[in-house]
């Protein structure tokens, strides 16, 4: 096809692209992915047995706040690296700051605990499955985010893949919090962080292949 014909074909039936279309597209993908993850969680694990009481506890909301805040920070970075030539720059600050807060909380918790109770605080009762479940529930979110990138233009594919993986991991962790009955900040700091980071690493690994355009 000649370039003239191509241009004519492309600009025919032009649909308006309102300001904020990119962010809306990413949020839509995250919402759809989170819904799929939540449905899968209900079918596979079900909510924690004491969910009714847990909703009143601070530990429940601390977990949700951690992964939720990291999800927002990673999404902010993601919406930056979705633009050509961009690395995200200062948008990454939140991604580093949020875990630091939880590390500090976990550290204080361990210091104020008796020495022989510390190991139990860190390991909880589900450390062997926690990071992998977070990774699993991040998968539908990751798929949706990759779909959203079909209209976006990242040029740093590994970085964009990492941001996509991390955002998906954080959303997956938030969903998993509904089923997880761990309460210690130290557990959160180690195993939730690990799960979300594995999701980010997988994203960075797949990014150059999946996000190429």
């Amino acid at each position: 096809m000649s370039t003239e014909d191509l241009i004519a074909r492309l600009s025919r039936d032009l649909r308006p692209t309102p300001p904020g279309a990119a962010a809306r597209r990413l949020l839509l993908a995250v919402a759809v992915g989170a819904l799929v993850a939540l449905t899968a969680l209900m079918a596979l694990l079900g909510p924690r047995a004491d969910i009714a009481q847990a909703i009143g506890s601070s530990a429940f909301w601390m977990k949700a706040a951690y992964s939720g805040a990291l999800a927002l920070a990673a999404l902010a970075a993601l919406s930056r690296v979705a633009r050509p030539g961009a690395t995200g720059g200062p948008a990454w600050a939140g991604v580093f700051a949020v875990p630091l807060i939880v590390f500090a909380l976990g550290g204080m918790e361990l210091m104020s605990a008796p020495a022989d109770a510390r190991r139990a605080l860190v390991m909880g009762h589900s450390w062997t499955v926690c990071p992998w479940r977070i990774l699993g529930f991040s998968a539908p979110v990751f798929v949706a985010v990759i779909w959203a990138f079909r209209r976006l233009a990242p040029t740093r594919l590994r970085l964009a893949g990492f941001a996509a993986g991390l955002a998906s991991g954080a959303v997956g962790a938030t969903v998993y919090g509904v089923a997880c009955s761990e309460t210690a900040a130290a557990f959160l700091a180690v195993w939730y962080t690990l799960g979300m980071m594995i999701a980010g690493a997988v994203g960075a690994l797949l990014g150059p292949r999946l996000l190429r355009w």
Partner: protein, 180 residues
């Protein structure tokens, strides 16, 4: 550069708002700029040139949601053009560094053609005797009048006129008749 930026950005914004004519103009103008930008970088692989131009136009069009209205258009378009060039090299398995240039690399006014034409002209004129060469250069290249050219070169006006006439005739005989 700012004039180009302003014109293209206003086309882009109108295109984003759904103005098909603006979008067509934008892509049309970009096609020319891209063809020049890639031609300089691909060298002899001209067979891929138009494919690369088209692929980049498709990316500019389908991924226009990635344009931030608060940012300059030229930087955005240049980043896409550069990405497509790197991707092209990667696919052909050639290792080539694509330096990050100013967006002006894509939007600079085209001086290569003028430079090439100037070089060709010099070579042509070099074949002529000095007086004819000077007469042609002053009147036809620098655009002086016959009187000014005569004053400048120290020839008489008649000599300048004759020099131009004979010189052009000689060039026509040599290059206008199908000889190389």
């Amino acid at each position: 550069m700012t004039a180009v930026e302003n014109r293209l950005k206003s086309l882009m914004l109108r295109g984003l708002d759904g103005d098909a004519a603006a979008q067509r103009d934008l892509l049309g103008e970009l096609a020319g700029l891209l063809r020049r930008y890639y031609a300089r970088r691909l060298g002899r692989e001209t067979s891929d040139l138009e494919d690369l131009v088209q692929e980049t136009l498709i990316a500019v069009h389908t991924r226009r949601a990635s344009f931030d209205r608060a940012q300059p258009f030229t930087a955005w378009a240049y980043a896409i053009a550069r990405y497509k060039l790197i991707d092209h090299y990667r696919r052909r398995r050639t290792r080539a560094a694509v330096p990050i240039e100013d967006a002006g690399a894509l939007f600079a006014p085209d001086d290569t053609e003028a430079a090439t034409a100037g070089r060709d002209l010099d070579r042509l004129l070099a074949e002529l005797p000095a007086r004819q060469r000077e007469a042609i250069r002053l009147t036809r290249v620098e655009g002086l009048s016959v009187a000014e050219a005569a004053a400048r070169s120290g020839q008489s006006e008649a000599s300048v006129k004759v020099g131009v006439h004979r010189g052009l005739k000689a060039l026509m005989a040599r290059f206008g008749s199908g000889e190389p």
